[in-house]
């Protein structure tokens, strides 16, 4: 007869092993972040000389300089507008399409779905050339709208794929009930499917937000006007062809990472919320 102590030690040991494992991985993830933070407080001279994680002197002015020299104020707002618009756009457009691919029937459905999937896989080298010419013709070049639409397209396929997988997993009973209550198809999509898909929608939000937030090549190509540029462009100016202003770059990178971390923390709530919703059966 195994005693209660045996089970208790066993549980404690297992927990210990799990924590040890989690902690090791966590340390490896935290280290570069700490390095970035500590480097952002050093000077160009000390950054590679003094490799300690806690700097000898704290140069907080780097943040001020990065903000000012990089023109963060203006770019920051642009990036927020682009990110929010693109993410909302993708959530609406991709979830509509994914819902249709998962639940509704129409001729050519599978073919269309496969075409979308193929788009995830075929890289288009040099596609900036036709994109540029096309947007020029449509008078979308050097406009925020053009950039937003192009970026919606970038995240579209992957988001449809993610959402469809989760819609497929969801039970049909609730939707049937809603249909019997006289709900329209759009109504079911909005009132039943989307709320149930909250965890994966949160993943889609984080994925696309990070994508848009970090994008700069397309922005550089289609925008001429500085007033339209996103935040990453400011960072590129610290990371020059010949000279990299490392402390300012690190300070800038820290500042740009913050909104993404906040978005992630905010979205996590929805990923975890699934627990209480219990109604979803795979």
């Amino acid at each position: 007869m195994k005693s209660a102590i045996y089970y208790k030690t066993k549980r404690i040991t297992i927990n210990l092993i799990i924590h040890l494992f989690l902690l090791t991985v966590a340390v490896s993830c935290l280290f570069p972040l700490l390095w970035m933070l500590s480097s952002s407080l050093k000077t160009q001279e000390t950054i590679f000389k003094d490799m300690s994680i806690i700097p000898k002197e704290f140069h907080f002015e780097n943040y001020y300089l990065a903000w000012k020299e990089g023109g963060f104020g203006r770019y920051f707002l642009n990036s927020v507008i682009y990110t929010v618009s693109v993410v909302i756009g993708i959530i609406v457009v991709a979830s509509l399409a994914a819902y249709a691919f998962s639940r509704l029937s129409f001729p050519g459905k599978n073919l269309l779905f496969y075409i979308f999937m193929a788009a995830m896989m075929i890289p288009l080298p040099g596609s900036f050339v036709p994109l540029f010419v096309l947007m020029n013709k449509l008078h979308l070049r050097n406009t925020a709208l053009g950039y937003i639409l192009a970026m919606i397209n970038v995240g579209l396929s992957t988001s449809i794929f993610l959402l469809k997988t989760f819609f497929d997993k969801m039970p049909k009973e609730l939707e049937d009930a809603a249909r019997i209550d006289g709900c329209s198809k759009l109504g079911i999509w909005w009132n039943v499917a989307l709320p149930l898909a909250k965890p994966v929608l949160a993943v889609v939000v984080v994925f696309n937000a990070l994508n848009v937030w970090n994008e700069y090549v397309l922005a550089l190509i289609i925008f001429d006007s500085k007033a339209l540029m996103p935040l990453q462009v400011a960072l590129m100016n610290f990371h020059g062809e010949f000279i990299t202003k490392y402390p300012l770059l690190m300070a800038g990178l820290t500042l740009t990472a913050l909104p993404i971390i906040i978005t992630y923390i905010f979205m996590q709530k929805y990923i975890i919320k699934g627990v209480t919703q219990g109604a979803i059966v795979g």
């Binding site: 900036f128 550089l220 006007s225 590129m236």
Partner: protein
């Protein structure tokens, strides 16, 4: 069918209150900048030089005060993205008045043939070639096409150099002292250079750092030695396909890298090192030698103002032919041939390359001016090392002035092959054969 969405939207209005606000913001942003009517002339310049942006802005405002012509320097970094932007704009026909073409001479030629770049010869030759003569010959040659060139471009000068650069060997004087060497007597011959490797090893220091993960830096040193070992004519004959890369002289060039590796003069991991890492190591006195361009003076100054170092040509292998280093125009600007403001654009570039502006640019950014007279003027004001870089501009050469280009595939095989030699994967002979095989393949393609 439209009411399919509309009815739904109405029903769900409470969720969508934010949307109109957002749309308005987006549209406002979209319509802000273009379309404003301007009667006065505005010269737009696209550039990629982050470190020169403040100086350019200052010069633009000086020019405006003088002429009331507005100059807009617009920075698009990094240079990869800049290069794509210029190409896309060329296809879309939206190039600005002044821009730069990055890349090889072949790409430059394509831009000219497509009618994007103005031939500046007539401006250069005016008043007894006053403008032309103000430049270093080497710097101008990079933007020049000679009669009957292989690219099929009409002979002429198509770009204005704004600064010059050379790429040389650097050594740390303090570390030299530590090694028991005379800091005023750097190695002159390749053998002396190799012998220092032994000392570096025992002193537990690092030898040569350079960005040899970026291929062109390898190409540069290898070609320096090719000029030294076989002379310019033979190098060019090889490019024309008249002499194979399996020639003993070329094998000798490849072998130099094996010798350097065996002598312990190369830093561990040089084959994947990017130049910024190399600069970081040299600036922090961890490496005795560096192979780097004149832009480094500004970089080292930022990281370690007390760095005690000097620039020398790479130690020579033989006295048979002169040593060559790479150099010439650092950055150049081209004028859009289709712009209606091209005359004003040329006038601005003429002003920009006058001694006064060149001195300002050189001092503000620690670069070497392309204008001969200004270099003399600032000689006492610039760091000593920068002067050493400038001194050797006369022995500088560059693939872009040879009048003929090697195939990209061959260059890649050549540089990657040298990496293979350094990591001990292939012998110099093997690499020579491989390079030659690719050379023949490319030649066959052309003949077809």
């Amino acid at each position: 069918m439209l009411n399919f969405y509309v009815t739904f939207l109405y029903k769900k209005m409470r969720y969508l209150k934010l949307l109109p606000g957002l749309l308005v913001t987006v549209l406002l942003c979209g319509c802000g900048s273009p379309g404003e009517k301007r009667s006065e002339i505005n010269i737009v310049i696209w550039h990629w030089m982050t470190d020169r942006e403040p100086a350019f802005q200052e010069l633009a405002s000086r020019y405006f005060k003088k002429t009331k012509i507005k100059i807009s320097f617009e920075l698009y970094a990094p240079s990869d993205a800049y290069s794509q932007k210029v190409r896309a704009a060329a296809q879309g026909g939206t190039l600005p008045e002044i821009f730069g073409v990055l890349g090889e001479k072949r790409d430059f030629a394509s831009f000219i043939k497509a009618g994007h770049i103005l031939n500046l010869t007539s401006y250069m030759e005016k008043d007894n070639a006053k403008w032309r003569n103000s430049f270093f010959l080497n710097a101008l040659a990079i933007n020049e096409f000679f009669p009957d060139n292989v690219y099929g471009v009409e002979a002429g000068i198509y770009g204005v150099p704004i600064d010059i650069m050379t790429i040389q060997m650097l050594y740390n004087k303090d570390l030299f002292q530590k090694l028991g060497l005379n800091p005023e007597q750097p190695p002159v011959t390749f053998e002396e250079f190799l012998r220092i490797g032994e000392k570096i090893k025992t002193a537990n220091l690092q030898g040569l750092v350079s960005g040899w993960g970026e291929l062109w830096m390898i190409d540069c040193l290898a070609n320096n030695y090719a000029f030294n070992i076989m002379g310019k004519d033979k190098v060019l004959a090889t490019i024309r396909g008249e002499i194979p890369y399996t020639d003993p002289d070329w094998i000798k060039v490849f072998s130099l890298f094996k010798q350097m590796q065996e002598a312990g003069i190369l830093v561990d991991g040089i084959v994947t090192m990017i130049n910024k890492t190399a600069e970081q190591l040299f600036a922090n006195e961890k490496a005795v030698f560096a192979f780097n361009g004149s832009w480094c003076v500004n970089v080292y100054k930022g990281m370690n103002p007390n760095l005690n170092y000097a620039a020398i040509p790479p130690p020579k292998v033989t006295d048979k032919y002169p040593m060559a280093i790479w150099g010439g125009a650092g950055s150049s600007f081209m004028v859009n041939a289709r712009s209606k403001n091209k005359e004003e654009a040329v006038r601005f570039l003429q002003w920009l390359t006058q001694p006064e502006q060149q001195v300002y640019l050189a001092e503000a950014t620690n670069n070497l001016p392309a204008n001969k007279e200004s270099l003399e003027r600032i000689c006492n004001k610039i760091p000593k090392v920068l002067e050493q870089f400038a001194d050797d501009i006369d022995i500088a050469t560059h693939p872009n002035i040879w009048g003929i280009s090697e195939f990209s595939a061959v260059i890649e095989a050549f540089d990657k092959g040298i990496q293979s030699i350094i990591i001990g994967e292939k012998s110099p002979e093997q690499v020579a054969q491989e390079v030659q095989r690719i050379k023949e393949r490319e030649l066959a393609k052309i003949r077809k």
